[in-house]
Amino acid sequence: MRRAAVYLTAVVAGAALGLGSALWMAGLWPPGRNLAFGDVDVGGWRSDFAIGSKAADPYTRARVARHGLLALAKSEAVYLTRAVDDTGQPLREACTYRLSGAVMPAGWWSVTLYDAASMLPANTDNALSIDAERAGKGAWSAVIAPMRPDSAEAWISSRGAGRFDLTLRLYLPEARLLADPNAALAPPRIARLSCGDGT
């Protein structure tokens, strides 16, 4: 009887260990983990170009299913995500940042802010992203802050976002981007300007 109980405990513990490790390694648990992962890392902007295809490994497939459901395959669009600033600190609502970049190797691009649940932050500022049309040609920049800046710069509102990340979408990516992302893409920089809590 005692022997059976030991084996039963081993089965339950094994199942719990397997379930927990799978959910953790796939980024599904605990809640609040972001999509900044993958085999592509361009200046801290991370992606997995197998997103949307069967070629993705089971961990990527599970994570994308949760955080990037209905994402397109790389021939149509690639998605890069970054959750830290240029000093490696997590992006958070209490701080003000300057996002800046150059010409992108794609037909159209955008950078959008998402909260820890991969949702647009619950505010009504109508300032959720910057895209190729608003940025214009050449170098561009935007201020990320919970309040509209005094300057006339483009603004991405982080109000209500808590800890957040940024997703760079590159539609109609150029072949050189898919072949060698580090050579083709000048990664947008995220400079922390100040923080409301004094840090």
Partner: protein, 176 residues
């Protein structure tokens, strides 16, 4: 010490098996939940449903882009002989027609900037045909994206969306 080897082996085998099964089933599980959520939110079966302009208040799935418009169609080709007639109306800006199976795979995407795109979606196991795409699974989601970063382009995309079609086509009766 030796008497613990059996339970330890059982624990490791159960952990490995549960780990593998969880990973293998996660996309289908998440997609099934997403499709149920879309149905609850009014996304039709076998018809395109245009979503409102994406805002924090209207977003329906994770990581929606506020710079795009979306139209969704859920499909179920489980009835023998059925197929789907799919059309994406012409829009002046970027637009794409993307097919996702029940495992979340993006198994086909058709680009249609400035022109209308029509295609048939066939049930799993169908023979390939000209102008048709074979779905790897019976159920899935079709998603049209149109570039619409401002109110003017959103209105143009909404107008183009009136020509979208996602219609179930019944097949020949199955003889017994």
């Amino acid at each position: 010490m030796k008497r613990w080897l059996g339970p330890l082996a059982v624990l490791l085998v159960c952990a490995a098996a549960t780990h593998a099964v969880t990973l293998a089933q996660a996309p289908a599980f998440i997609m099934a939940r997403a499709m149920a959520t879309l149905a609850d939110r009014g996304v039709a079966l076998h018809a395109f449903t245009a979503t409102p302009r994406v805002t924090p208040q209207s977003q329906q799935v994770v990581r929606s882009s506020p710079d795009l418009t979306y139209a969704l169609c859920r499909y179920d080709l489980g009835e023998p002989g059925t197929s789907l007639a799919v059309r994406m109306g012409a829009s002046p800006g970027y637009q794409s027609l993307a097919f996702f199976n029940a495992q979340t795979d993006n198994f086909s995407t058709l680009r249609g900037t400035g022109r209308e795109v029509s295609v048939r979606l066939l049930a799993p196991g169908s023979a390939p045909e000209e102008g048709a795409v074979v779905s790897p699974t019976e159920r899935g989601v079709i998603l049209i994206r149109r570039l619409a970063p401002d109110a003017r382009s959103f209105a143009a995309a909404a107008e183009a969306g009136k020509a979208d079609q996602c219609r179930l086509v019944a097949g020949e009766p199955v003889s017994r």
